[in-house]
Symmetry: C2
Subunit: 146 residues, 2 copies
DNA sequence: CGTATAAAAGATTTTAATGTCTTTTATATG
DNA sequence: CATATAAAAGACATTAAAATCTTTTATACG
């Protein structure tokens, strides 16, 4: 519901890098994929998009890997969603009719519109930093597959 | 976002039958598919599931087609969602981690849980009848793809 | 420079949702 | 019963997301 797997992988990957950034400067994809129990190469492609959008940094070669940059912690979740899933969903009709149009509301428009707005607002307000706050071992446990 | 196309087709199909039920006893799939601009055979399969779950009635042969039954109008939308998409989505973690578990909340749990509950409640409370109420030509226009 | 390391990129496969086309089954009516 | 009609069912195709595997590129370091 709501999001693709890619979005989940992206959020969890970014958070894992954030949680590890005290201990090590860079985190490798192999470690992330293993700890999150996520397919390595698929995650790699998603992380690559994340880097292209300057949400994380990366370097190739020995001692390379993924790392936070000066902006990472202040990135809102909706930016991550934009990279992985796009934001068209917020302007589309929930019944898939066309672009949502309050002038010609579909039968579920009045139910869905407030929920959609709330979701958009929540994702816009919540930053990576908000999610990284709190008990660290617990968080690492919670972003792992179980 | 939120739902599959199948759900949208199902809701619109049921509503079209409901809106036509004054004028004609039964509505054929060809007419529904044409008016909603939806692929006929795909819609047929979805309508078939809807009939199997007693949300609508159908009869084969001449003068056959789909029709309301005594329960149709009081069916909540969540029942339709269950038939087309299933309801597992409401117990799964929004990040796709596993079953959502408030004891071990994922980083977006506190953002998502209220939204999910609200959506579930809205879909549980809204019946087909609620959606059929109102200006009929306008509704027919609004469930069409145009 | 040569080598090892790690991300990036590319090619291919799998899976589920969606869509199309054909055949079968049920039924109303003459 | 014969025929036409319309849903149901089945087989197959397409598409996008997800996953896997291989090759290329960049870089640290001896
Ligand atoms: S018109 Fe369907 S959600 Fe707004
Ligand atoms: S644990 Fe992720 S939404 Fe509840």
């Amino acid at each position: 519901m709501f999001f693709t797997k890619s979005f989940g992988y992206a959020v969890r990957g970014i958070l894992y890098v954030g949680l590890m950034s005290n201990e090590k400067k860079r985190v490798q994809i192999d470690e992330i994929a293993e700890k999150l129990a996520v397919p390595k190469h698929f995650l790699g492609k998603i992380m690559n998009k994340i880097v292209k959008e300057h949400i994380l940094d990366s370097t190739k070669g020995p001692y390379g890997g993924f790392s936070l940059n000066k902006d990472t912690l202040s990135i809102p979740l909706i930016k991550v969603l934009e990279v992985t899933d796009g934001l068209e969903q917020f302007s589309m009709c929930a019944l898939g009719l066309r672009k949502c149009n309050p002038e010609h509301p579909c039968p579920v428009h009045h139910e869905m519109e407030p929920l959609r707005s709330n979701l958009k607002r929540a994702l816009t307000n919540a930053t990576i930093n908000d999610l990284v706050a709190g008990n660290k071992p617990e968080l690492i446990r919670n972003i792992s597959a179980f």
